[in-house]
Every structure is written in C-alpha cells, then in structure tokens.
Chain length 162, copies 4
C-alpha cells in the first residue's frame, strides 16, 4: 500500500533550459512508472519542471518546503509538506526518497547528494558536469550511479528498487 517515492533534486532559479527539460521528462517517466515524485517544491527550476512533468504523466507529486507557509510553491504539487526548517529540510528530502536523482548542479543539490551518501541512500546523477562526476566518484567510490539520459535513469531506479 505504501507508495514508492523518487526524489528529484536540482537547481532553482539557476537551472539551465536543458536541466529543466530533462527534469520535466524525468518527472513524467517516474509518474508513468507508477511512482510518486518528491521535490523541494519551489515554483522554479528543476523542482517545478519535475512536478509539472509528473502531473503530465498522471502521477502524484509531493514537495518538502523550507518555509513555514506554503505560499511560494509550485502549482504542480499535490501534497506540500510544510517544515519551517530552512535548509534542514534537505535531510527530509533525502530520507523520504527511496532513490535520489540529482538533475543538474548547485549548492543545494550538492548538499543533498552529500547527505544521501552519508545516509546510504541510492543516488543517480543526471545532467551532472564531468568535474562533479569525478568529485563524487572520488568521494564515494562505487556508490553512485551516473545516467546519460532519462531512460537510463528510470532503468537504474527500477534496478535499485527490485
């Protein structure tokens, strides 16, 4: 009965058009696989695009908000978890996801990848620059998955869950 929750983490305002496009396709594919999409919930960048894609795919969307109010939230979120915890909510993002997919790079996303390694949560890197890939593989050899496109990422999630 418990739903499978896949976290999609990525930059907000600084997300590139390609990162947003990939996040949309990823959200849609996750929803079509029957899984729930979890994001940081703000109405920008990867979070917004992944939630929008998931709704286009007919799925359910959750977000974990840093603020005490749900005012500034993506309109594509079904279930807003309101924490008032600021950046400490990044830990909730990671722990609540069965698999964490990082789509793109930024300080918040970096903290979430690092926390996921620390908390032994499976991680897939998508749209991750080569230097960042090398950094993570050096920090946590053998414990990250690298995906070159959405199809591979979804296959890796399926593999991890089974």
């Amino acid at each position: 009965m418990t739903k499978t929750i896949i976290g999609v983490m990525g930059p907000g305002h600084r997300a590139t058009p390609q990162e947003r496009q990939t996040a949309y396709a990823l959200g849609q594919a996750i929803a079509q696989a029957g899984w729930v999409v979890l994001t940081g919930g703000r109405p920008v960048g990867v979070m917004d695009a992944a939630s929008r894609g998931a709704k286009a795919g007919g799925g359910l969307t959750i977000c974990v908000l840093p603020t005490e109010q749900p005012h500034t939230m993506s309109t594509f979120v079904d279930i807003p978890i309101v924490t008032g915890l600021g950046q400490a909510r990044n830990v909730v993002n990671v722990l609540t996801s069965q698999v964490v997919v990082a789509c793109g790079s930024g300080p918040g996303t970096t903290s979430e990848i690092a926390l996921a390694i620390k908390l032994a949560k499976p991680i897939i890197l998508l749209e991750t620059p080569l230097l960042a890939q090398q950094f993570w593989q050096c920090l946590a050899p053998g414990s990250l998955h690298i995906a070159s496109n959405v199809g591979t990422a979804v296959a890796q999630i399926r593999n991890i869950l089974s």
Copy 2:
C-alpha cells in the same frame, strides 16, 4: 490541485480503546469528505487507528516519522515522510495540516496543540478531558474549537476551511 490535509494527533501506546475508536471514525469521516489524513505514523494508538479509518473511507494517508528509517510504521500509511528529526517532527505535523484535530491527551499531543497555538493553526479538541479543556482555553482564549463527537469535528473542519 493541492490536497487538503487534516492532521490527527493523539497518544500512541497509552491511547484508550475509546480514543482509538473515535480516531478510526474520525479518519474515516475525513477521508469521506475528500481530505487527506496526516498522522505521526507509528503503528499504535490514535495514529494507527486514524490511518486505518481513512483507508476504510477510501482516502489517502500521510505520516511524518520521527526516525531515519520507515521500519516501524503503521501499515495503513500511503506516504511516509521520513525525517530523522525525533520530536522536532511535531512541528512538521502541525505546519503541514490545514487543521489539527487532537484526539485524546498525552505529552506528544500536548506539545502539538501548544505548537499549533504558537503557529496560529486552527485546532479542534476531541476526546479531551475537562481539565485539559480548561487549561487550553485559559492559555489561548477563543482560539480553540471543542468537539464532543466526530460529526461536530468534521462540521468544524468544514467551517474552518470555507
């Protein structure tokens, strides 16, 4: 698109049979009204009964777990939010709920009612002993609703939401 989330707070192991029975009926009525039930998620007492009632009513159930692992969770929860925050997760329970219903009395529930008052969240007291009712009304005059049964509580929720 955003769902309406109603928090049901109450004792765990120390819940009385009547508190559990009321929590079950409340969860069922909330689900039948089309709202999502949020609890603290442990497989005991009011949390478990409210989630079980909500599933019987055809609804969706969320829980906010204090632990880093979802191991000890009610089997009637669809969406477990895993926080690892210990009792600090009580704040997330309150902030995520549009209305908080306290069903019964105990230290955890007391902290959640107090936090709800502090955070200006609507609260309904159900199955609350007279002394506790007096205490809360003295602490926060005019800002709590008291319900003598599930039907009244649901009418009060409907009123608050509209």
Copy 3:
C-alpha cells in the same frame, strides 16, 4: 570539563513583570551556582531577564535562536546557537538542558514542558498558575517538580543533578 546547562523557558512579549523579576533572580542564582543558563534568546520577557540575571551573577549564557540570523537576540547572550529551525528549536532547548525550569506560562513554554516530559527530562515549574500545575500533574503524575520561589528551584536543581 563539560559544563552543566540549565534551561530557563518562559514567555516573551507576554511575560508579566513578576515573571521577568523571578527569571532575573533565577538566572542570577543559576550563574552563582556555577551553571550555564540556556534560553530561547529573544530580547524580550523571561529569556532576556534570565540571561541578564545570569550575566549579573557572573555566569555564561547560551541561547538557541529560531531564526537563520542572530539579529534579534538578547544582548545578554554570550553564545548564540543559530538554528533557522523555527519552533523546532524548542526540542534543542530541552535536550541541551540538564534540567528545564519553566518560569511562567504561554504556548511556547507549554510546548517545551510537554517535550521535556516526552523526552524524560527533569522539569521544575515556577510561576505556574494553579490550573496549569493541575494539568501537568494529571498528564505526568510524579514527574514534575513545583517550586514556589527561586531558592526552592535552585535546591531542586541541585538535588536532581546530584
């Protein structure tokens, strides 16, 4: 080498003159006993008075701030712990204190007393109205200490620590 930390919890803006006066005397007495005073750190009410008393008594003062910035802090605090956690920082107040003294009554203080009961932390009630005393004794029989003045409270702390 580890210092003994005593938490003093109480209302902010709504504190009465008597609560502030008692908090000042309590902070001073805790400092003179060689213990560190911990408060919620805002520049008002019981928190401010207890820290001011502790500095007058030659002691060290810590506060645990709810905000991400230390801007609005009592000027009598030596060590500000900046959490950005909002009301979830109340749990940190309780867990960091070896003994929690509630001085006066209010929603925040009520949440801290309830969390202290939940977390099995020793609690002393000072300047607590009779109705509230009855409520707490009914909720957690035998697990709270009631003090009628600062001298008694300090004797009770000494007793608990030994």
Copy 4:
C-alpha cells in the same frame, strides 16, 4: 559580549593522521586568537582533534550533536548542544559559525561546505584535495578561501571578521 564562534568541520573515523594533526593545530590557534571552536562533537577524527587543540590553547569548545543523548561525545567539549536532529544538525553547525573551516574531505563535510555556500557563510578550505578545490571553485566561483596551512587559515579568518 557575544563570543566569536569558528566552526571546524571534517571527517570522523576516516580522517587521516595529517588531517587530525592540522585540526589540532587549527583548534589551538583559534583558541589562542580568543575565538570559540565549534565542531560536530563526536569523539573521533577532526572534530575531536580540533576540540583537543582548542583546550590546549586555553579556549572554549562547543559541539552540536546529532543524537538525543550526549553519551558519545569528545571529552574536550565544554558545551554540548544536543539536537536529536541527525544530519539536519549540520545546518546548525554552519549557521552558528561566523566562519566555517573545512579540514579534510568526506560526505558530511561536503554537505556542510555546500550548505555554507547556500547560506552565504564564509568558508575556508584546508587540507582539501585539488579535485575538490576545483569542484568547489567551479560551483561557487569567488566565494571560497583556500588555505595551504593553519597560519594562512587564521589570517583569513581574521580578515573575514574585520
């Protein structure tokens, strides 16, 4: 009256002898400059060494513990802040420090550097591998300081504070 708090972050069990040696010297130098040393508080690696160095330098030491109990704590800590927040306490480490010094590399430290960038807190990288330096400079151009030894790090702290 408010003390200046410098955070020293770094690996626990996986810390190398050189990282521990540098952390000791750094803690000692921070203490001798009159500042307070803040660490994650566990009795291993960089945290333990920095606290030990700070005590040798006659300073005050704080730690922010992830657990609900202070049991497993470095013996060189004066003031344990007990959070029960798990890895969410990393945010408290960063927000409470006026400057964050990362000494060595690991998942926890990586999350703290990333959170410090996100929260606009000054960061100094010490004992940081070249690949990690490149990664951080690419992620947050111009916002990190790199120190090749303890003397440089202390000079950089002094500069940032003035």
